[in-house]
Structure formats: C-alpha cells, structure tokens
Amino acid sequence: MEQFTGKVWVLGDDIDTDIIIPTEYLALKTVDDMKPYAFSPLRPELAGQIKEGDIIVAGKNFGCGSSREQAPEIIKALGIKCVIAKSFARIFFRNSINNGLLLIEQDALHDHVTEGEEISVTVGKEVVANGTSYAISALPQNLLDIINAGGLVKAMRKLNGLD
C-alpha cells in the first residue's frame, strides 16, 4: 500500500474552480503558464509557497463550480501529492481521477489539522496527523482501473493498441 508524508496547506469549504484557477487565465497556453495564478482570488501568495509533495486539506465540496480540468491539472503541476477534503464536487472528482491526482475523502481531519503540520497517508487505509489516525476508504474498482492504467489518456492509448 502506497505510503507518504507531506506538509499541509489548510483551505476552507466550497473551494471553487474559479478560486483554483480564474477564467481570465484559462486561455494561457499551458498549465505551467497558469499555475502561478492558482488560488489567486483567495490567497495570491499560495501558488509560490507550495512545494513538491505538499498536501492540501480542505472542508466540504472542494472543486465545486466549473468543469475546467485545468483545476486538478494545476494542483498536480504545483506538486501537490493529494487533496484530502470532507467531500468533493463531482466533475472535479472525475477530472482528478482521469489525470491521476489522488483525492481522499475524510470527514474529521480538517477540523483537527493545522497548516504547516506534517501528516502521513497510507492510501486506502488511514491518515495520521498529530498522533491520531483517521480512517479512509478505498476507491471503487472501475476508478482504480483508470488510475492503474496511468490515467484516462493512457487507458485509451491501450484501447487503441498504442502502448
């Protein structure tokens, strides 16, 4: 079972896709061009502070709003290892799976974690923060299949006999 630790950034409820990446930057050519503006309406300095392997812990309904797939792509490009939230909006959830960004639903962690803290994650089993274990569940098989294939693009390449 995959295991990792990371430093936590704490965000609130209803972090929408316009906060993750405002529409005005969506016509920039690449996700790397867009990523300095991630979370800019809420915390303009945040994108510059996030380091490879960090973890976002958020409240309910993370990723609500538009269908923009740049939202999970940018979070991944910033180096975020996974997002742990009380709940996720459905389009964001699908987009994240298809792009190989790990999402974990956990109801209680958000209320007990402090920004800057190190937490450890055992995928499909638990999150440990400040000595306390928070249980997490495994994803359904059809989603694991997409992740195991390396995302939806790779799954389709396999379908087309390319890889």
Binding site: D14, T23, S67, E69, R90, L159, N160
Partner: protein, 413 residues
C-alpha cells in the same frame, strides 16, 4: 418497485433495468464542446490515438466564451477548433450564434430522453426538455469522441415538488435560488434533481431551463423535467410513449423529497460570494449598486428580456448604474428586436451586447473593480468571477435586476 425519471432514461438508453448506485456504460446521443476547451479536447483526442470521431454529426462545437475575441490569445482557440472540425468532418459548428446551453436545445441538438455530455458544468441545462445531461472535463470528452460511450453511476434522485401559483414579482430563478439555499452548495452532489408539480407543469420551457441550468450550483449531476406538450412544441417533435413515460413512478425510490407551495416564494438574491448564500430581497433593500447584468445561459432568454422590459418601460436606469443586457442567442436577439423589447431596454439606458458568455465568465463586457457591487441574473457569484476578487455579486431574477437598475440599489420588483 418503480423508477425515477433518470433511471428510466438510462434504462431506455442501455436496454436493461438499472437502479441508483449501479455503474453502467451509456451510449452518448450528443456532445457539446465550447471554445475555451477545444484546444485541450483536440490534443487529448490525438494523444489517445483516435483517428476518427465516433459520429461527427453527434458532435457540436460552439464558440461562446471568447467571442468576439477580447485578447489576441483567444483567437488560437478558433483556429484550433476550425482545424479540428475540418479534419474530422464536423458540420455542427457555431461561431457566433449564442451561448452553448441556449443553442443545444434551441437549434434542436437535444431531444427528450437523450443522454448528452458537454465540457461545461452548466450542461445540466438540457434536463429542461427531459434529457439526462451533465458536465465533464476535456479528457473524458476526448474519450467519448473516440468511443461514443461513457461510464456513469446511476444517481440517486431528490424529488422537488412545487404546486400553486407564483407571486407576480417571483420568477423561476427565485425558485432555484431558494432551493440551492435550502440544499446548500453540496446538497445534491452526485445526485439528480427531479422537478414536478403543477407550478412546474405550467412553466415555459425557458423557465424550466433557468432551473435545470443552476442544478450544478447545488452539486447535482443533472436535473430533469418530465417532457410534456410544451416540450414537444419547443423541440418540434411528437413525443413517443417512452418519452411520455419519463415520469417519476409513485413507488420509485427517492433519497429525499422537498415540497414547496408556490405562493410562499419571495424574490431572493444569492449574496457574495456563494450561490447558496440566499436571502430575501426585502432583507437587502437599500444596498447601493454600481452595475446590473441581465443575460447568460441562466436568464438571457426572450421571456427574461421581456420581464426586464416590463419593469423598465418608460423609466431610466439610475445615472450612476451601468445596465448591461446580453441576449443568450442571435435568435433571441432578433426576436427581442422585432417585438420592441430591445427598444424599451435601450431607451431605459441599457448597453446591449452581442450574444455570448461575456460578463458571466468575467472575460469581457463590464468587468468590475474593488468595492463595486453588481446585481446579475447569471448563475455564479464566486470570488473574482466578474473582475477583481473584491466585487460583490448578487444573483437575482431579471425582474429584480431591472428594478434594481432603476433604483440604483437593491429593491423588490
């Protein structure tokens, strides 16, 4: 045991019984891609190794977020879109006809009972004609373009029953805002909303569209209305027995039922900066405003413009307020010209823009700055949606918006 409307649509599509919670693969009847995401769809499609579209006639490409271009980079999206359409033999391309969600039903691409996906979260709109429609990302869109199929989890359904007659100053927009306020921004996540009751039966397809459009603001996967004679007339079809049967069965399983009496609705606003932060207009009266926006795929239809014109007739917009009106499509634009609505709006002091997403997505046509407040008829009031992150966006019905434009502050129509 009976079926919900969405269970019936999916059952009819795949030819076997389904129940909420099952994961199934559906056959897609139509897809919509808009200008913002076409470059990403095109590159993912080719990266996946596809060489042809599963059915070019089932793919619709609509330029709406970026037309007319306001930045040089925007034009790249049109170039990529035009090349993609030419290369793969797509005929259904709209370059300046209006907003995608208006055009998909207006131009006849979506019919009752269809399953439709689009690269925009407000794709839930087509439930107004009894279709199952939902927003997806560009990677999934690319996979549909190649396969014509998509996996879905059959959603549980929240049944919303509304009976009675709405007060004169209340519109369908007030109903859906009230519902989103009651459900919360995640109250319907992964679920379907099914609207029923005599208030809904008496509503125009345009009003139903305002409601299904905003279902996503409560997190819903889709929202659906039973197709009826009004739907048939709007879609220019004769309903088949299967389509007439898209009614929630009395013994269907619903995860929740919410009932409203129409007479009890009042004009409301969704206050900054969450759509579920809904308050009666009466509690906000006197709040000074800088701008009013009437338009969008939520409320840019002929009946919306006419409702605003009824309030604005013979009056003038307050001198310090900018009123921006954006029809949802060219067809609506010309209808509003022909029936005199545009003249009433212009005489009152409105700036009338070309049909497009425009101000709703904060790209063009009335961007605001720190400390300003806007009353707007669109579907989102998120931070930074219409300019700087210190703009206060109040979502309201066209009637309320028009009354606010005249008063220069928030008031009831």
């Amino acid at each position: 045991m009976g079926y919900t409307v969405i269970e019936k649509i999916i059952r009819n599509n795949i030819g076997k019984d389904v129940k909420a919670g099952e994961i199934v693969t559906v056959n897609v009847d139509r897809v919509m891609i808009h200008d913002i995401f076409i470059p990403f769809v095109a590159s993912k499609f080719e990266e996946m190794g596809f060489t042809k579209l599963w059915d070019p006639d089932k793919v619709v490409l609509i330029y709406d977020h970026l037309v007319p271009a306001s930045q040089v980079d925007d034009t790249r999206h049109f170039k990529v879109g035009n090349e993609f359409a030419a290369k793969y033999g797509m005929k259904n391309v709209h370059r300046s006809d209006g907003i995608c969600h208006q055009l998909m039903t207006e131009a006849g691409y979506v019919k009752p009972g269809n399953i439709v996906f689009g690269t925009d979260s407000h794709t839930t709109t087509y439930g107004c004609v009894g279709a199952f429609s939902s927003g997806i990302g560009y990677t999934e869109m690319a996979s549909i373009l190649g396969t014509g199929t998509m996996w879905v989890k059959v959603p549980e359904t929240i049944r919303v029953e509304i009976n009675g007659t709405l007060p004169d100053n209340v519109m369908a927009k007030d109903i859906i805002l009230k519902l989103i306020g009651d459900l919360g921004a995640d109250g319907a996540t992964y679920k379907a909303l099914e609207f029923t009751g005599d208030t809904v039966a008496n509503m125009s397809v345009a009003s139903r569209m305002s409601m299904s459009n905003m279902a996503i603001e409560a997190g819903a996967k889709c929202a659906v209305f039973t197709p009826d004679e009004k739907t048939a007339e709007y879609c220019e079809v004769t309903l088949t027995d299967k389509e007439k049967d898209l009614v929630g069965d009395a013994d269907a399983v619903y995860c929740r039922t919410i009932t409203y009496q129409a007479e009890e609705f009042v004009p409301v606003c969704a206050c900054p900066s969450n759509v579920d932060n809904v308050r009666p207009v009466s509690e906000l009266e006197g709040t000074e405003i800088d701008q009013v926006f009437i338009g969008s795929c939520t409320n840019g239809r002929l009946e919306d413009l006419m409702a605003a014109a009824e309030v604005l007739k013979g009056k003038k917009v307050a001198p310090f307020v900018k009123l921006i009106v954006t029809p949802a499509s060219r067809k609506i634009y010309t209808q509003a010209l022909e029936n005199g609505t545009m003249k009433i709006l212009a005489d009152a002091g409105a700036m009338i823009t070309h049909p497009s997403c425009g101000l709703c997505c904060g790209r063009t046509g009335g961007i605001l700055t720190d400390g300003e407040k806007v009353v707007a008829t669109n579907n989102r009031n998120f931070l930074g949606r219409m300019g700087s992150s210190k703009v206060g966006i109040y979502l309201a019905s066209p009637k309320t918006a028009a009354a606010c434009a005249v008063a220069g502050k928030i008031v009831s129509a």
